[in-house]
């Protein structure tokens, strides 16, 4: 039976993991390569590398790191951040990324998803959205959540999937950082709107939040989180054991 995926997300800036990470048995780690290997050994089903570098030098460092990671970690690797053109797709795919996630790049150029899907296949194109409720309507935000695009979220997701996005990462800005659970209302709407895999992001604070997510919304395929994994609040091995105890299929 296919399993629900657990995906740690690593923010990378100038070649290092942002804020660093401290694990009891690992010490201070800010090497994305080491951390990726660690997560892979712990049972992560997939990894997301998010490049928040602004400079060209940082970007080159990022691709070096990606290459090194793909040489040592043999689970699917998604790359996001600064993906604005099909050349950007090409750049990270050549370095070992399996999927590429687009967010603001697709808003700036709505033809990007379609172009990339035709070149690299739907399975390779991940649409990532930052969504926030504004006057009771789910809106798409751009530029790392700083700018309200005015786009209605569900319609935008449906449109991009129609163009060829093979997977959707739904990040709720309303629940992100609050650690009170995923945004089930938003996720339910996205799951009913599209048939491609949906990855929930934003709001996980504890193991039970993942259990609630997968039990309430069987249409959600994966849960993504960052800090709760980095700071050891949730251990992936424990999370997966608990998923299985609750009858949720997990790869152990």
């Amino acid at each position: 039976m296919i399993t629900k995926r657990i995906i740690p997300c690593l923010d990378v800036k100038d070649g290092r993991v942002v804020k660093g990470v401290n694990f009891q048995n690992l010490g201070d780690v800010d090497s994305p390569v080491k951390l990726a290997k660690y997560y892979s050994d712990c049972g992560a089903d997939e990894l997301v590398f998010y490049d928040i570098t602004a400079s060209a030098e940082g970007r080159a460092l990022f691709t070096d790191i990606l290459t090194e990671t793909a040489r040592t970690v043999f689970i699917p690797l998604t790359v996001g951040g600064g993906i604005n053109t099909t050349d950007d797709f090409d750049r990270v795919l050549k370095c070992g990324a399996d999927k590429v996630s687009v967010n603001s790049g697709a808003i700036r150029d709505p033809s990007l998803v379609g172009k990339a899907a035709r070149l690299y296949g739907d399975q390779c194109v991940v649409l990532s959205v930052d969504v926030k409720r504004v006057d009771g309507v789910f809106r798409i935000f751009a530029k790392g959540g700083r700018e309200n695009t005015g786009l209605e979220a569900i319609e935008w997701v449906r449109r991009c999937v129609g163009e060829g996005a093979g997977e959707v990462v739904v990040n709720s800005m309303d629940t992100d950082g609050v650690k009170q659970g995923f945004d089930l209302e938003l996720l339910e709407k996205v799951c009913s709107a599209v048939k491609v895999p949906v990855i929930a992001s934003g709001g996980a604070g504890k193991i039970e939040d993942f259990i609630t997510l997968f039990k309430t919304l069987p249409g959600v395929d994966a849960g993504l989180a960052a800090s709760i994994f980095h700071f050891g609040e949730v251990r992936i091995a424990d999370l997966k054991q608990e998923m299985r105890r609750n009858g949720i299929s997990a790869r152990i």
């Binding site: 039976m1 399993t3 290459t67 793909a70 043999f74 370095c95 070992g96 491609v196 395929d221």
Partner: protein, 206 residues
Amino acid sequence: MTAIIDYGVGNLFSLRSSFAAIGEDAEVTADPERIRSADRVILPGVGAFEDAARKLRESGLDEVVREEAAKGKPLLGICLGMQMLFERSYEYGEHPGLGLLKGVIRPMAGRIPENLKIPQMGWNDLKIKKESPLLKYTREGDYVYFVHSFSAVECEESLLATVEYGEEITACVGKDNVFGCQFHPEKSSNTGLQILRAFCETEGIA
């Protein structure tokens, strides 16, 4: 040396890296001579069947693959590369494959329940159907990573392992020296690396 055939389909970085990780010599090549001198051959592939089959044919490498397989050299098709080992595919039309294994490729849509997504994307656990040198390090229940919308059917003769996705889906095939994985061993963590290792240890047929 293992020749990984480069016919312009998909990204071979991870595949090459996974051979390095298990300490096996592998070379990404489109050179018929290198493929002929290799100890074993990998036929990779992602994307659309028709496009990939055409590229393989236009490069002339389809004949090289057939010849080497006929000589008894171990051959492993991965994902779309596995699908091309069969007689034909019904992916948007009808397209001939290499015909090295008996069976055809059909869409999963319509065969599996509506609530299951297509492509099957993610980790699924193997059900072993037949012992094989390819699976000598693999156990029932080991997880491997899939991304596919079409699958091999009518292939009982070579069926080695399946996964459950609405129905039993062909995951792994093998007959004599010709093997195939629908999943991506190069993305399936240690389970996948062990399958590649086992492939490198197969002897072929003299």
